[in-house]
């Protein structure tokens, strides 16, 4: 029996255990919309317990810590309260980046405390690990934020020799990592090099990934920050950090894999494919698209919808951009009054976050029972009179099913082209984020309603009311 095992557990450690349990229970409750809110509160309670327990441990530097807590809490709560639902993905990206940055700094702080000597191989290894993953997540999240906020183009940014540069950075990180673990002086400098290279790599890693693939990236970066937090748990010998970080790491990884599967693409393809950067092989884009496109006005669409039996709404990123979810809800209300059945088809990767459309429609009070997953709704399109596509493009592209030369061939899509009629709301004939022509628009049963999705829908609502 070693002596350590005989020591009594401190109340703080017990509190941390309670936190770990509350996190797991909280996540368990997230599996149903009915209990999800309770789940989040249980998890928040766990967090509160951990923070209070930590604060009782003879800390110094009270003024700085107190001020920082107040600033962080105020900025976090206020910005989270004010952000529009449509800007949610970038908000999550920012908070994720903040966590990653904090994890990297925790590792840096621990090494600084030891003043540039290696305390032990374990600590040396895991502190560089925390710094590397944390910095990757921090820098990557910032770029993801800039792309989602459209400060920066959502198109993939590529340059020659990209993979070589990334490989060299990775090599530099691994070498400096090894030097820190081996304790080769100057240890601190090697550590900073690893951290700096990770920041640059984080930027370069997200730059070539297109806007449409951001859900996958955010999910992956979320998992990174979780792992970075777990890694700081190894550095500090703190179990609650290890448990929580592992939970998040597992969750982020699982979500990333699920989304990759939904697009029928490997994660490597998403991350390194620079999807959408290459011009498509299917003929000269502009010349092909637009030939048989039929453009209609909102009143035509109103008549079409009002006399239908079943309408399936297919929302996409365009709905988020135009904030059209409330107008869609109103349209659905008007149609239901006329006895039309309205359903919503949600593609797993529609929007910029997994489940992005679900959140927006929930905001507009659309009952979640009216939302259908791809597999459930696809057989239904044949029976639908109208498929109303609101700002979705690639996830409705029949080329994914039929055209073997298409870059998205093999991606599961919503079979809107099986509906009796298709109405597509789009800003213009520009191709989607993936930059691929959509033969759906040339289909004889498809009509296009051009313009801002919200204004178009409002026009249709007015038309339905007038009927």
């Amino acid at each position: 029996m070693n002596v350590v095992a005989q020591q009594l557990a401190s109340p703080v450690d017990v509190a941390y255990l309670v936190t770990g349990i509350l996190f797991i229970v909280g996540l368990r409750y997230l599996s149903s919309p009915k209990t999800a809110r309770l789940g989040n509160r249980i998890s928040a309670l766990g967090m509160l317990i951990a923070i209070v327990a930590t604060l009782t441990q003879g800390l110094t530097n009270w003024i700085v810590i107190g001020a920082a807590l107040v600033v962080g809490a105020a900025v976090g709560i206020v910005s989270a309260q004010r952000v529009k639902m449509t800007a949610m993905p970038q908000m999550v990206a920012i908070f994720n980046g903040a966590g990653g940055g904090a994890a990297a700094l925790v590792a840096a702080g621990e090494l600084l405390r030891f003043g540039g000597t290696v305390p032990s191989y374990d600590v040396a290894f895991t502190s560089v690990l925390s710094a590397v993953i944390g910095a990757l997540s921090f820098a990557g999240s910032i770029i993801a934020f800039l792309k989602l906020q459209e400060v920066m183009t959502g198109r993939p940014i590529t340059y020659p020799g990209q993979q070589v540069v990334n490989a060299l950075l990775l090599l530099a990180i691994l070498v400096s990592w090894g030097l820190v673990v081996a304790g080769v002086p100057p240890v601190l400098e090697w550590f900073w090099i690893a951290l700096g290279c990770s920041l640059v790599l984080g930027v370069l890693f997200v730059l070539p990934i297109g806007g449409a693939d951001m859900p996958v990236v955010i999910s992956l970066l979320n998992s990174f920050t979780g792992l970075a937090a777990a890694s700081t748990g190894f550095v500090l010998g703190n179990n609650v950090l290890i448990i929580s970080g592992a939970l998040v790491g597992a969750s982020g990884t699982l979500l990333t894999v699920l989304m990759g599967r939904a697009m029928n693409r490997s994660i490597t393809n998403v991350l390194f494919g620079a999807f959408g950067a290459v011009k498509t092989g299917t003929g000269g884009g502009g010349a092909k698209g637009g030939q048989n496109v039929r453009s209609v006005n909102p009143d035509d669409v109103a008549a079409m919808l009002a006399y239908a039996n079943e309408v399936i709404v297919v929302p996409g990123y365009g709905m988020a951009v135009a904030q059209a979810q409330h107008s869609i809800r109103e349209l659905a209300d008007q149609l239901e009054k006329k006895g039309v059945e309205v359903k919503y088809a949600i593609h797993p990767v529609a929007g910029r976050m997994p489940g992005h459309m679900n959140v927006l429609l929930a905001e507009a009070n659309v009952p979640y029972t009216a939302l259908y997953d791809m597999d459930d709704i696809n057989p239904e399109f044949e029976r639908a009179d109208v498929a109303l596509v609101v700002g979705a493009n690639d996830v409705t592209n029949p080329a994914a099913r039929e055209d073997k030369t298409s870059p998205i061939y093999g991606m599961p899509i919503l079979n809107v082209d099986k509906a009796q009629n298709v109405v597509v709301l789009k800003r213009s004939m520009a191709s989607g984020f993936a930059g691929i022509d959509n033969p759906l628009y040339d289909d004889a049963k498809t009509v296009m309603l051009f313009g801002d999705a919200k204004k178009s829908i409002d026009g249709v609502v007015a038309g339905v009311k007038a009927l």
């Binding site: 770990g20 989040n40 952000v83 966590g99 904090a102 929930a362 009952p367």
Partner: protein, 104 residues
């Protein structure tokens, strides 16, 4: 490898499995709130931030400590608030129905 590290690794690996198990039961509808909720949970790094920033033996540079705690608390408080806001919107059919049926 020390015995201590082995214990920690055991905890880590078991927690990963618990994570997979719990998360795989979450429906697609809730994936955004789930991501946001787990995003808030990794704010637990605030515990590490507080321990490092407030370490009594060798206090950290004030500016680094400040930035560190701000970042981590931003993650915690922002993360939970955003998740709460998202989940507020998920209502069952009942309260959403009256406007659809009621005369207007």
């Amino acid at each position: 490898m020390t015995a201590h590290l082995l214990t920690e690794l055991t905890i880590f690996i078991l927690a990963v499995f618990v994570g997979f198990e719990v998360i795989s039961k979450v429906p697609t509808t809730l994936h955004t709130p789930l991501m946001s909720a787990t995003n808030a949970i990794h704010g637990i790094v605030l515990v590490g931030a507080l321990l490092i920033a407030g370490a009594s033996d060798q206090p950290l540079n004030n500016i680094v400590a400040f930035v560190l705690v701000v970042l981590a608390s931003l993650n915690v408080f922002g993360g939970y608030t955003v998740t709460e806001r998202m989940l507020q919107m998920f209502r069952p059919k009942a309260p959403a129905k009256p406007p659809a049926d009621g005369a207007r």
